[in-house]
């Protein structure tokens, strides 16, 4: 394609130069008869038409040629809604674009300087001005109304049955945190507890017992297809922005100010692989707020699958507390005394470990099957 486009570029500019240069010569000899105040007046008038026709052809053709590389249909209901609104707006704007540019270029050509012709003194027409103030105003009003309706819906509170996932941006990657398989509830956090060297990169607060079974992942997010996902968005160091192109999701991650976004992923990764005919297709999460050197490579895979697969994946994930206690058994002293016994369930190394881990394991399995 590049060659075609390149060719078009050269041709278009070639025409421009050639016509301008040639007509300069031609006009040079006929100057006396037309007596335009500047040279090449006719040539430039003609170039408006050339530009109008050439530009329109290039626009239509390039659009058709580029279409294939646009994102496929959105994988979320709100995304499909905004998409169709986008193309509706785009359609209206394209019409306006062609009408206005046509009039502009056509008038430029048609009313170019003619010797002896006198322009029409036409300083105002209130009726006309009123009409073209009113028409855009009415169109704008309806577009605003449509946008407002979608926006309110998208930004409303997440449904109560949503799967809650915390996603935290950092230089340069994402940390996804789940509420765990026992209580499925995200525990508290405090940025002062963040400690990269001691396995607590997202600052989980273990004075909250809901935190005990929380687990994190830095390369994948798994969500259940067809069920609302409520993203709790945080940033650890500077601004980031969670961007899921195929879901039409975007929201900044702000240090010190949690943000949120909810959506329904209603097409599984498998389904998309079939639809796009690309066996390696993956949903991706990217960063769209410049955050430093590695900004362009903050990739996180998003896997949309059925409930069974998500649950199975969750079962394999190790609670952060277990990792911490494994590396540093003394950590248990930092947990409030009344919760220590419960926290010990996540410590696989202690002497009575066999029975504890076993019971933890079965408890986990039980709670998973109960859900």
């Amino acid at each position: 394609m590049i060659y075609l486009v390149g060719l078009l570029l050269v041709v278009l500019l070639g025409i421009a130069i050639a016509v301008a240069a040639k007509l300069q010569k031609v006009m040079g000899s006929t100057q006396s008869e037309s007596e335009a105040p500047v040279p090449n007046n006719k040539a430039n008038g003609a170039l408006w038409l050339v530009f109008l026709v050439g530009g329109s052809v290039a626009m239509v053709w390039s659009y058709l040629a580029s279409q294939d590389a646009f994102l496929p249909e959105a994988s979320s209901p709100h995304g499909r809604e905004t998409d169709s609104q986008f193309w509706l707006d785009m359609g209206l704007l394209t019409i306006a674009f062609f009408i206005v540019n046509f009039l502009l270029f056509f008038f430029s050509w048609k009313y170019q300087y003619k010797k002896g012709y006198k322009a029409t003194f036409y300083p105002e027409n209130h009726k006309l001005e009123l009409i073209w103030t009113a028409i855009p105003a009415v169109i704008m009003a309806s577009l605003v109304f449509l946008g407002f309706r979608s926006w309110t819906k998208i930004m409303s509170d997440a449904p109560a049955d949503s799967q809650v996932v915390e996603i935290m941006g950092k230089q340069f990657g994402w940390i996804v945190r789940y509420g765990g398989v026992q209580d499925n509830k995200l525990g508290g956090y405090n940025y002062k507890l963040i400690d990269d060297n001691n396995n607590n990169p997202s600052g989980i607060d273990y004075s909250d017992e809901a935190s005990f079974d929380d687990f994190i992942n830095v390369s994948e997010m798994h969500v259940e297809v067809g069920k609302p996902v409520s993203l709790k968005i945080r940033a650890r160091d500077v601004l980031h922005s969670v961007y899921i192109p195929h879901m039409r999701v975007k929201m900044d991650a702000v240090p010190g100010m949690p943000t949120k976004f909810w959506f329904i992923p209603d097409k599984s990764t498998e389904q998309m692989r079939a639809e796009t005919g690309n066996p390696n297709f993956d949903y991706e999460i990217a960063c769209t707020e410049v955050c430093g050197r590695g900004h362009f490579a903050m990739r996180l895979r998003l896997i949309v699958e059925d409930k069974a697969s998500v649950d199975a994946w969750k079962q394999q994930q190790k609670p952060v507390l277990s990792t911490i206690l494994e590396a540093d058994p003394k950590f248990i002293t930092k947990i409030p005394e009344k919760l220590r016994a419960k926290a010990m369930n996540y410590a696989p190394y202690v002497e009575e470990a066999d029975s504890t881990t076993a019971s933890t394991g079965s408890a986990a399995a039980a709670s998973a099957s109960m859900r």
Partner: protein, 625 residues
């Protein structure tokens, strides 16, 4: 009559007096207080920065269009910013993007455009000897120069210039440990901008004062050319909004150096939890865009003003809807202050605010549409002369419309979710604000060059320059919309880290080629500009048969602009092709009593006022009061 004579005598005297005091080189060309010299200083500085800013864009376009290409040939020039393997350093890529934005928005399109044409045209078109305060005007330029110098120095730092995007959002810009570009480069950026804002304020105050106080006899507000209206409103915008940016910058300086927490809260970076709590990065964004959005119009309105003047002159027709044009400038300026948060729909700001700002934003389309339609109607049944200035003005209208239309999509918060910070935005604002304003700059230079240098630019070269640039701009930015629709985020060093970024490598290449092509087309202009300064055809007094006052001055305008008395003004500036008149223009200084054949009935009433206008002479700084 005796009063007039007395004034005349005084004028001649004071003029002579001036001749006696030959200014030395430094006072005449360097630390000049003459508005025309200051305008040229702004213009040359603006062109210098434009070359640097555009060259930067070419370098990062090379990276985007040809990822992985061997750029070692740039090593002698960029040094260690090119890695061992011949690739561009990602930190430097961000620095380039940031500097390109800062330079183009502030130094080229704010200072370069307003600085040049407000300074040059306001005294000449309102009929004043000079600006209200020549000294402040000189100070304004030299502060701008110092601010540019600081920014220029920052480019050569080992840690590089500021690199967090031209919007310098904290915490990235506040924490030196977060990014190389937030070290000394950011300190210099902030100092430079603080000085730049002072310069801009001094300039704007001068413009406003001059327009209000120094209009010549008979130059009522409804007889002001639209250029002056645009410059006036632009200056007001600047006076109101730039101080807010200054405060944002000062608070950021406090956060960076004095341990405050205006923008910082709950941050863990480089293995360390910072003590700052309670600040808000969103606060910075509000303050920044409270300037940042009006800034778009600070850049664009002067260009639209220039266009109004050039289109009317060269279509040989009055501008259609003069009063509607003024009203729409005012409406745009007013709305400019209450739409800033449309840059922040997905920053975590309250979504309800988002809906308010969406509504206000889309209202701006109405006065903008009025302007576009008025320009087109001005062309209708005109007798159009395609001077290069005219070509650039028509091109501006096309770009203003094409780029403005996509704003309707981006101003819609629901649609902005997907498009925010993608190349769709980049394409949108480059057409409507970048290219359109640059076209205004070119139109202004082509149109007023004869008045500036007393010589003509080569029209044919100007026309070729226009067509190449016009085609180039569309070829660069139209495909960029497609890249944006495909979801490509901006400020990415490369797109290969993502599957969704693997498409469009050819289109990115095409955009880069078109950008490089457009860049080189500008050298036609540069050559024309400098060559004609010395070798151009000597200009006639009024080369475009224009109505405004600047063309009543001598070809080579001296200090004080008019020899003898400042002309009085009797009519609006758009009496082109008036029915009954045998010439197709009637300058503003021609009284109605001399054009009885073309007067409308109501205009005959103005004849009675002519004596009164004649007798006034309040504003001539050379006259005694």
């Amino acid at each position: 009559m005796s009063v007039v004579e007395a004034n005349l005598g005084h004028d001649v005297h004071s003029h002579d007096e001036h001749e006696h005091h030959e200014l030395n080189f430094w006072r005449q060309y360097i630390f000049s207080e003459d508005h025309k010299v200051i305008a040229k200083q702004y213009m040359i500085t603006g062109i210098f920065w434009a070359i640097i800013g555009a060259a930067m864009s070419v370098i990062f376009r090379l990276q985007l269009g040809f990822p992985g290409a061997d750029l070692s040939w740039l090593k002698p020039f960029l040094g260690d910013w090119i890695t061992e393997t011949g690739a561009l350093d990602p930190n430097f890529y961000l620095a380039l993007v940031t500097m390109h934005g800062t330079i183009m928005v502030f130094f080229v399109l704010t200072a370069g455009l307003s600085g040049t044409f407000s300074n040059f045209l306001i005294p000449l078109q309102v009929g004043a000897r000079d600006m209200a305060s020549g000294f402040l005007n000189m100070l304004s330029f030299w502060l701008f120069f110092v601010s540019g110098l600081l920014m220029f120095i920052s480019i050569f730092l080992e840690t590089g210039p500021a690199a967090g995007g031209w919007v310098i959002y904290p915490p990235l810009s506040a924490l030196p440990q977060a990014h190389m570009g937030s070290e000394m480069g950011m300190t210099l950026w902030l100092s430079s901008m603080a000085i730049f804002i002072m310069s801009s304020l001094l300039g704007s105050l001068n413009y406003v004062t001059t327009v209000i106080n120094l209009r010549t006899r008979g130059m009522t507000f409804t007889r002001l050319p639209l250029t002056i209206w645009a410059f006036l409103i632009t200056a007001v915008l600047g006076i109101i909004s730039f101080p807010v940016l200054l405060s944002a910058a000062l608070l950021l300086i406090f956060d960076r150096h004095f341990g405050t927490s205006f923008y910082l809260s709950e941050i863990y970076i480089n293995g360390e939890a910072l003590p700052n709590v309670g600040g808000s990065p969103i606060l910075f964004q509000h303050l920044f865009w409270f300037l940042g959005h009006p800034e778009v119009y600070i850049v664009l309105l002067p260009a639209l003003g220039i266009t109004s003047e050039v289109i009317a002159t060269n279509a040989r027709k009055p501008i259609f809807g003069y009063r509607a044009m003024i009203a729409s400038i005012m409406a745009i300026a007013f709305l400019a202050f209450i739409v800033w948060a449309h840059h922040m729909f997905v920053t975590g700001m309250n979504p309800f605010l988002g809906s308010i700002f969406m509504f206000l934003t889309l209202i701006i389309a109405v006065p903008s549409a009025v302007k576009a339609f008025n320009y087109i109607t001005t062309l209708w049944r005109g007798n159009i002369v395609f001077t290069p200035g005219m070509l650039f003005s028509i091109g501006l209208v096309s770009l203003f419309v094409s780029g403005g239309l996509t704003g309707i999509i981006l101003g819609n918060s629901a649609l902005d979710i997907q498009l925010h910070d993608t190349y769709f935005v980049v394409a949108h604002f480059h057409i409507v604000m970048g290219a359109a304003s640059a076209f205004g700059f070119f139109a202004g230079i082509y149109h007023w060059y004869p008045k500036m240098f007393g010589r003509m630019l080569n029209s044919t070269l100007g026309q070729i320059h226009f067509w190449l640039t016009f085609a180039g701009v569309y070829l660069v930015f139209m495909p960029m919309h497609y890249i944006g629709i495909a979801g490509f985020p901006r400020r990415y060093y490369q797109f290969t880290s993502f599957d969704f970024g693997k498409s469009f490598t050819d289109l990115n290449m095409f955009v880069s080629i078109a950008a490089i092509f457009t860049f080189f087309a500008q050298f036609i202009f540069l050559w024309n500009f400098f060559y004609s300064m010395f070798k151009g055809k000597v200009a006639p007094q009024n080369p475009w048969n224009s109505n405004t006052l600047e063309w009543t001055t001598p070809v080579n305008v001296g200090h004080g602009n008019w020899v003898g008395e400042i002309p009085a003004v009797y009519r609006w500036p758009y009496d082109y092709s008036k029915p009954g008149s045998d010439v197709d223009f009637i300058p503003q200084n021609i009284p109605h009593s001399q054009t009885l054949e073309s007067n409308f009935p109501h205009e005959n009433e103005y004849i009675a006022q002519e004596k009164e206008i004649e007798a006034q002479n309040y504003n001539d700084q050379f006259a005694s009061h």
